[in-house]
Amino acid sequence: MIGLGFVYLVAGSFFAACAILGAADRRWGNALFHALLAVSFFFGDRIGDVGNGVLVLALVAVATSGRMRRGEPVEPTSPQGPLLALALVIPAAALGGTLLFKQVPALVDPGQVTLVALAVGVLLALALCWLILRRTPVEGVRAGRRLLDEIGWAAVMPQLLASLGAVFALAGVGEVVGGLVGGAIPDGSVLGATIAYGLGMALFTVVMGNAFAAFPVMAAAVGIPLLVRHYGGDPAPVAAIGMLAGFCGTLLTPMAANFNIVPAALLELKDRYGVIRAQAATALPLLLFNILLLWWVIR
């Protein structure tokens, strides 16, 4: 069955090729970083948990060594060929593949259709670029390597943060935060409990970088015992709007690196927090809206 294994083979091959090209260009820090990523994608399932932990430490050591260099600028040629159509190949493949692969659960892992479709789209787009633009996949990897170097070590930050979340869960950070928030609510106030729940979702999401980690905690501390059981709120809006209050927190935190930090690097912004600054004026009024809406529904 085609699943994550195929996706990791495609992504791992890209990282391995970046490592080889980086070494050829004597960009040793970048080459080592990409080689470690390739090892993770090819052999991650075979080197054990401690092995993976050591691999992470090696990645962090390379990232903090100061030996990773930015991508070198290149001048694009004047536009030729059906570039916009080719740019839509990957989105179209993601769309078509997601719908199509769901019909063949025996062939493609139903849980991974989107990632598989993306990987197929990448291979298809590279083949079409070769055919139509006469640009080889090796040129593609070279151009992709430059973009990856532009992102630099921030490329693995989302994955590291997700792993930190796992350690937080193991250590019981959520229960402690939930207890603190639960203890701060004035008795008998629906509005107070709603504010504590909505703000708690947003703040805990800011800390964890992920509303998914905040939801079970805040549901246990405030949402279920107070809003649903004590004040008789409908559990559907309590859950749904609470989660969306958490998403407002996601817009405000560098801990949600794949949404907020990686794009800043990818768009070559000088300000690492530029995307968060652009989001704050939407996120804060929307958080207020969510809290008021939930209060209106429960009261």
Partner: protein, 223 residues
Amino acid sequence: MLVLSGVAVIALGFLLRFNPLLVIVVAALVTGLAAGLDPLAVLARFGHAFNETRYVTAIYMVLPVIGLLERSGLQARARSLVAGLKGLTVGRLLAGYLLFRQLSAALGLNAVAGHAQTVRPLVAPMAEAAAEGQGATDTERVRALAAATDNIGLFFGEDIFIAIGSILLMKGVLDGYGIHIEPFHLSVWAIPTAIAAFLIHGVRLWLLDRGLARARVRAGASR
């Protein structure tokens, strides 16, 4: 309370601008030690989670295609497309993209767009070209706003789709309390916030257009 020391490490580390990767690893170690775990167990847990979340990093496989198309002049082509459309302002362009992103995410099509797939190669250069046509000089802010618009559209569209991870997580958590709810009832409650998100962000984009127009009038008057 002691387990919160890891959170303090994160906050301080980010504030003092240490390398974030180093801050994250130290925070994990501090949290684990505070919870009474031995360092090797923390390392193993961290390594295990890192291996299980590789799919987050797999998205970079699109970069060879994006890089190749950019070298062939994709961004210039996207800009000339904007120049050919009269009356297309940066605010209208991004509001249109916001609506597209919300609607496609509401249908469960999250990966159709994204920072690597669409924002960097298409949306950001188009927004920059439109803003420059309106006399904008701070294109860095326009690029940041393009990325912000993608995030907002995704976050406040996807929860309308009944099979998305967050809906399934909510259902699972509520099940644990003996509260059984159909995913549909959860996704319906995402609609008011989706509309509010479009209106709030839409007003900001409209104000951006208006601000650019006023700056231009002022510049014209002072000349």
